[in-house]
Amino acid sequence: MKAFVLALCAAVVITVGANLILNEIGFSAQDTTSSPSVRLDSDS
């Protein structure tokens, strides 16, 4: 059971981590396909 709970925690950590890392290194589709003068988000 411990392995199962650990795996769930790992899945959450990887999910959040992957998003942070990809955003950090500019891998979002928004960053890769538009120039800085394009505003796709209302808050950016």
Binding site: A11, T15, A29
Partner: protein, 394 residues
């Protein structure tokens, strides 16, 4: 008054005038190669193939350019019609400030067949496949019942999976289940969820499921690599598998055929997960980084080179694909293979839980009842016992 009389005559005479114009018979009207004919339009309406290869090519060019001192001489030899036609058929020389790889495709007309498949047969047959698998499993449970441990339980247990193996399994399993649910929400959202919950509610759900689906995919890929290395050596086929398969795994009685750590059925599940899961991962990466990883033009080219489409009576597959078409094929492939793997995993979950007494302990606690192990994995138990005899201290 004279004006009124004139108006009266105009109103009533106009239709007569209009009718008196000789209309060309549409069936005999001829058009130039630059214009689509009535026949083309009718064929398109009947979903038949239209040969527009000649029309696609009429986009003007420097060779047609009038000299610079003549009217329109600076336009490079392309008329307005030529320019619009070039855009219509994606033949134009487009340059743009947008850095996206697909930004120079202003119109792509290869999307409708994909959309029709995605919202039609893909959903219908996908639902049949998953629903049918669940029905078959329920039927199997009704007919065969739970596969019980036949002999008397010993009360002793054998370690079947170590903690790190169970960790890898549950990481793969949990991420797969989340991916399957979020994937199904994405696919069936428009048809099922929007009519049920409305656009606003589904918008929030769709944004959330997309985020989760995209990011938890990494957990799935990491776990897939982990379990491959953990278990590949135990899943290489050997001759005990043939005997196991010949007896149908003993699933309908007739005794338990001998098996090592994994029987042939489990090996099939393992390789299905590795091969189909790998394929889903690669097509998923292609969708995750749009237009960066193009898989299909090259694959179709290879298949055409082998003559593979001819084996099933098909024409050559298209190997000149726009970036958007690459994504369309990737999405269909990703979804189709995911449906197949999900159906297989339904069977795996069933046998690992309600379908077989004692099976869940293997992944739950890591320890299995010795009698269960003797019945389902007799050769493996012998191996474990032999090792214990050599190293009694462990």
């Amino acid at each position: 008054m004279a004006r009124l009389i004139a108006l009266f005559f105009m109103v009533f005479a106009l239709p007569v005038l209009a009718q008196s114009v000789d209309r060309p018979d549409p069936n005999t009207a001829t058009t130039g190669p630059a214009t689509q004919s009535l026949d083309d339009i009718l064929r398109r309406q009947d979903n038949l193939k239209v040969d527009d290869s000649e029309r696609r090519a009429i986009i003007g060019g420097p060779e047609y350019a009038p000299s610079v001192d003549s009217p329109l001489g600076t336009r490079g030899g392309a008329s307005d019609s030529d320019l619009w036609r070039a855009m219509r058929f994606n033949n134009g020389d487009i340059s743009t400030q947008n850095t996206g790889p697909a930004a120079t495709v202003l119109m792509q007309d290869a999307g409708m067949w994909w959309l029709d498949i995605r919202r039609g047969p893909l959903q219908t047959y996908g639902a049949y496949l998953l629903g049918g698998t669940l029905l078959l499993l329920a039927l199997f449970l009704l007919i065969r019942g739970r596969i019980r441990i036949e002999g008397e339980k010993t009360g002793r247990t054998i370690e079947r999976f170590k903690a790190f193996e169970r960790f890898g399994h549950w990481l793969l399993a949990s991420s797969f289940i989340v991916l399957a649910i979020t994937g199904l929400i994405s696919l069936f959202g428009r048809k099922v969820l929007i009519p049920a919950f409305g656009h606003d509610a589904f918008s929030t759900v769709a944004i959330g499921t997309k985020w989760v689906h995209n990011n938890i995919s990494w957990a799935f890929m990491v776990a897939l690599v982990m379990i491959f290395f953990f278990w590949v050596m135990h899943n290489l086929p050997d001759k005990t598998d043939l005997k196991w398969l010949a007896k149908g795994g003993g699933i309908f009685g007739g005794g338990h055929p001998p098996a090592k750590k994994f029987n042939a059925g489990q090996k099939l599940i393992f390789w299905a997960v590795i091969v189909l899961g790998g394929s889903i991962s690669i097509s998923g990466l292609s969708l995750l980084f749009p237009f960066e990883i193009n898989l299909f033009a090259h694959t179709f080219d290879l298949l055409n080179g082998l003559g593979a489409p001819g084996w099933v009576g098909m024409e050559n597959l298209p190997s000149d694909l726009s970036p958007q078409e690459e994504m369309q094929y990737a999405q269909l492939w990703h979804a189709i293979i995911s449906f197949v793997l999900t159906a297989i995993i339904f069977a795996h979950i069933y046998l690992g839980s309600v379908g077989m007494e004692g099976a869940f302990d293997a992944m739950g606690k890591g320890e299995v009842e010795e009698q269960w192990a003797r019945e389902h994995h007799s050769l493996w138990v012998e191996e474990v016992k032999a090792k214990q005899r050599v190293q009694p201290g462990e």
